[in-house]
Every structure is written in structure tokens, then in C-alpha cells.
Symmetry: C2
């Protein structure tokens, strides 16, 4: 559930006067997205999303995100593209917050994942990686392996509140990942948060990729592993190898995996599982009692981590080598 | 902030198959409305609101609300009209909840009230009252004077937690209203909750009246008084007689007040202030600590009540008799 900054009519009209978007028809807060305030803005020219960036997004990183969306959209990726104001800007101020207007994408995000969703996702994820390869911006992934160490240190003393032994298990896992994490896999711009609520479909076709506010430079295989964790486990916790095979198979048809990438996939999947486990654990241990957002279950990702630790190799993902 | 019932794609598609609305383009939860889950539904035929009725709305009252919207819309009132399914129904089931699709209205609700808003509101409120006069349904106002007694009894013991003496003051006020509340003013269908967030404007013209889920049979002058309290006080608590004059003046041009209605206006305004004071007080005393919705300040309406109690007569509203 989003934080909301209330925008007055007068402020909205003054803001929109900087753009060439015609008359306002409606303006409604959207109950999606946790980090920012998002509004659906309809004018007589079309539909847009107006985003007010709240505190959790760092102001000096906004040009990276906005320029990346523009770059990817210009390369044919179905992602929002920022609308330029009359004076050429894509970032403005509204209610003392940075604000941008981006294009609206049709489609619904899938509440239940079917195999065809995974095939479409793999195809578009590979195109996203290719399209980002000539993007000039660079952003370090603060939620990669050194970020996990910081998170674990912050949670270590209280991790056993979830269950006895969790802290030690996470310490052991992180030490192994620190020892084995590669530094030379193919890398570039990754989305890093491509969960189902960030992917829209119309009928059986992917129609939109949204929410680029975790995008950064990292291993492509790590982005693939994030998707595998987010899309290829059933609600009961079971891994669905058919979905993984379709996701990875569609990906490699567009951007083939190198052998080191293939070999590293289980390790990438463990790292990705640990990353979401740690951020959820942190939120679970630290959420204020009256918060809008219910913390997500950290154990969902603990189970995923265990799965990837216990498999013999990437063949368990339904891949032919 | 609304309660959200998550609707799966498959359930949504099965639900929409009962309607002749074309293909779904998008479906987004709207962060408005507290009682129900509201979604903005876009299809290739147009835009609609899909509402899932949550527990606080009584199921057996839904036909009254839905039929009333249809009746009023057919009389030219700018309110949503329910969409009929292929088999002619306006109420269906979705996710084990009653559900309806209604038409989408353009416009923005005013975050800051200007005098022209009040003039438009008065004009349309009078037309709403006239248009409802031949509506066949009937619904008692459970939040009229006997409902206030129940609310005060539920709050009486703890009212002084707000400030010392509030309980006794409310008891005295309610006793006076019980003694003086009329039973013969012109009455019919009233909206009963026409706050600014339920009224849309395009430019300076009223474009929509929404949220009929408190509509009921009551005195027309009581509905006018609710609007006066909601629209004619400034954020600092000061009564704006210019706004009241425009609201009442535009109203009476369409539906003239009888002399007893005019005389009763201050009493109606006190009753209306007490009604919102009591529901806010009840929510303030009883909201769970982790609730989504911050309780509204009950004292805002205590100050309005005092204003109406202290004026010499309806002339204070800027009216000529």
C-alpha cells in the first residue's frame, strides 16, 4: 500500500502547465507500489502515471532511473517512458518532492503464474539485458553481496526470533557465498526486482515491465535468478521445473548463457534468495506496529534458498546443458 | 485507504465474461474510499469502476444503492450508473463478495474549496433531491437522531478522554436536539455524505457525484446542512459565509426552501455536526492501533457544532429570508 502525498488541484494544474498534455480529465491515487506515491493521470491526450518520489528513493539517483526507462523504451522494451516537459526536463518538483510523468502501460499483472507467463518473461528479460548494454549510466547494486553482509549484521542478534538457529544458518550461507561469489560473469543493466506485480500481460503476451527503481549494474544471471525465485515456485513452496525451463529456455534463445553463467545459476539463485530473505527479515524485525505495509514472510525465501542449496546442479532447473 | 480484496486474472475474466464490455486493458486498485474495494477497470469499450462490497455494507441494502444510482443517472444527475450484465443484473458476486460495475466519471475532487465549488454543489444537490422524488426505494437513515443516541451511549463513558466535559456537553446537546428535532420537514432521498472527496469537478463545473452508500430518506434540509458543514468552513475552523450564501442560494433557485426549512437550518446544521462528531469520536475511541485509516479529529465537528449553536439564526449563513 502506497504512501500518499496529497496534491491540491492548484498545485497539480501549475505542475501540468509545464507539460504539453492537454486538459486534466481525472487524477486518482493508485493502490500499488510501496516506495512512492503513484497517481493515474488522465488528460484529453492520454493516460499517464504521475509519480512523487518519497524519501526512500535517493534524489541523486533519479536521473539514472528516468534516463534508463527512456533508453530502454527507445530500444523497444515495453516499459514506461518519461514525458518531457515543455522545457525538455523529465524530472520536476511537486509538493517539495521530485516528480515525473511516465507513460501508462496497458495490461494486468498476473496474480497466478502460468507457464506461459514464464516463457514470455524470459524472452523479454533477455531483450531488456541486450537493450541496456549501450546505456551510458551506471549504478552499483547496493543490495548485492556486500549489502547482504550489512543487512545480516543488522539482523544477526534477533534473527533467532523467527526460529532458533536461523542466525547461524544465514551466517554460514553468507560466508559460503562470500567465498564463492564470482566477479567475472557477464554483467550490465539488470532490473533486479522483476516480481509478478511489475510485469503486465494482455491475454498471453507480456505488455509491460515497470518499476525500475532497483535497476543497477550486476550479473545478468543474477537477474535471471531473481525471476526464477519470484516466478517458478508454487504458492505451496514447490519448485516448478516446467516454469523454470520455459523461463530459462526463452531467455537463452535471445541471449545465450555462457558456460560459467550456467554453472553459476544455482549460486546466483541462492544469492538472490538470501537477498530477499534478508530484506524481508529486516523489515519483519523492524516494522513499526502501525505501518501500512504488512511485512512479507522471510521464511518463504529461506525455503527457496534451501532448495537451491540442495540441488545437484543447474540441471534441476529443467535445462539441457 | 481502502481495504483490498485481491482479484485473480482468472476470476476477473470469468466475472467480466458476464458483461458485454470488451477486452480488459487494465485493472488497478484505487486508493480512495474506505468501505469497499474499488478498482479502475479499463476495457476497449471504456472506463469503469468495479466495486467489491466489503463487510461494512449490508448486502440486503445493495439493491437500494444500485437502483438509486441508476434512477438518478437516468434523470440526468451526473452520478455513476450501474452496468447491466448480459442477463440484466447490476449486482453480481466476485471473490465471495457482492460486486458491481459502474460507469467512470471524469473530474477531480477539490482538495481546496473555492466559492464556485459551493455554488455548483448547491445547484446539483437541489437537482439530486428533485430527481430522487419519484424513486421507489426507501431506506431509513440509521445515522439520524436515534442513531446518535446509540453512538453517544457507546462513547459516553470515554468521551472525556478527548477533553474533560465533552461527554456532558454532548449529552446536553443531544437532549436538546431530541426535544426540538422536527418530524415534518420536506423529505425524500438524500445523499447524506456529500463531502468534497465525493464530488468531482472539471474546470469550474461539477462533473460527478459519487459514493451513494449512505443515501437514505431524510429531510432535504439535513442534507443541505451536511454540505454546509463539509464545504463552508475554512481549514482554520472559520465559517465562510460567502460559501454558505452561494451554496444555499444556488440550491434555493432550483428547489426553494419552505419557511420551516429555513428556520430549521441551524438546528439541522447542529444535528449534522453532532452526527459526524459522534461517528468520528466512536472511531477515535475504538480504532485498532494498526488500522490502515487514521481516525479523523472529532473536535473539528465539535467546533462546527458550537458555531451553529451560537448564531442568532439562519441569517448568519448569508441568506436573505
Amino acid at each position: 500500500m502506497a504512501v500518499y502525498t496529497e496534491v491540491t488541484d492548484a498545485d497539480l494544474r501549475a505542475f501540468l502547465a509545464r507539460y504539453d498534455l492537454g486538459d486534466i480529465l481525472s487524477f486518482k491515487g493508485i493502490a500499488e507500489g510501496v516506495e512512492n506515491s503513484n497517481y493515474l493521470l488522465q488528460t484529453d491526450r492520454g493516460q499517464y502515471i504521475l509519480t512523487l518520489y518519497e524519501k526512500r528513493v535517493e534524489r541523486n539517483e533519479l536521473p539514472f532511473f528516468v534516463n534508463l526507462m527512456e533508453h530502454l523504451a527507445s530500444r523497444g522494451i515495453p516499459c514506461p517512458t518519461p514525458v518531457h516537459s515543455r522545457d525538455g526536463e523529465t524530472l520536476q518538483e511537486l509538493n517539495d518532492r521530485p516528480a515525473a510523468i511516465i507513460t501508462f502501460l496497458d495490461g494486468l499483472w498476473p496474480r497466478r503464474i502460468h507457464p506461459f507467463h514464464c516463457r514470455e518473461l524470459g524472452h523479454h528479460l533477455a531483450h531488456l539485458h541486450l537493450a541496456g548494454s549501450d546505456f551510458a549510466g551506471h549504478r552499483r547494486n547496493r543490495l548485492s553481496i556486500d549489502g547482504w553482509r550489512n543487512l545480516l549484521d543488522a539482523c544477526r542478534a534477533r534473527a533467532d526470533e523467527v526460529f532458533s538457529g536461523l542466525g547461524a544458518e544465514l551466517e554460514e550461507e553468507l560466508q559460503e557465498l562470500e567465498a564463492r561469489w564470482p566477479d567475472d560473469l557477464p554483467s550490465g543493466i539488470v532490473h533486479a526486482d522483476l516480481f509478478p506485480d511489475n510485469v503486465f500481460f494482455r491475454d498471453e503476451k507480456l505488455s509491460g515491465l515497470i518499476d525500475f527503481y532497483f535497476a543497477c549494474n550486476d550479473f545478468y544471471a543474477y537477474d535471471v535468478a531473481i525471476c526464477m525465485n519470484a516466478w517458478c515456485f508454487e504458492p505451496d513452496g514447490a519448485f516448478n521445473a516446467t516454469k523454470a525451463r520455459l523461463l530459462l529456455g526463452a531467455y537463452r534463445k535471445v541471449r545465450p548463457f555462457s558456460q560459467p553463467e550456467l554453472d553459476a545459476l544455482p549460486l546466483m539463485a541462492r544469492g538472490s534468495a538470501l537477498r530477499f530473505l534478508l530484506t524481508r527479515l529486516y523489515d519483519w524485525l523492524n516494522h513499526p506496529p502501525g505501518a501500512f505495509v504488512d511485512p512479507k514472510d522471510p521464511l518463504e525465501y529461506w525455503r527457496k534458498l534451501r532448495f537451491h542449496r540442495d540441488i545437484p546442479g543447474p540441471g534441476a532447473y529443467g535445462l539441457e546443458p
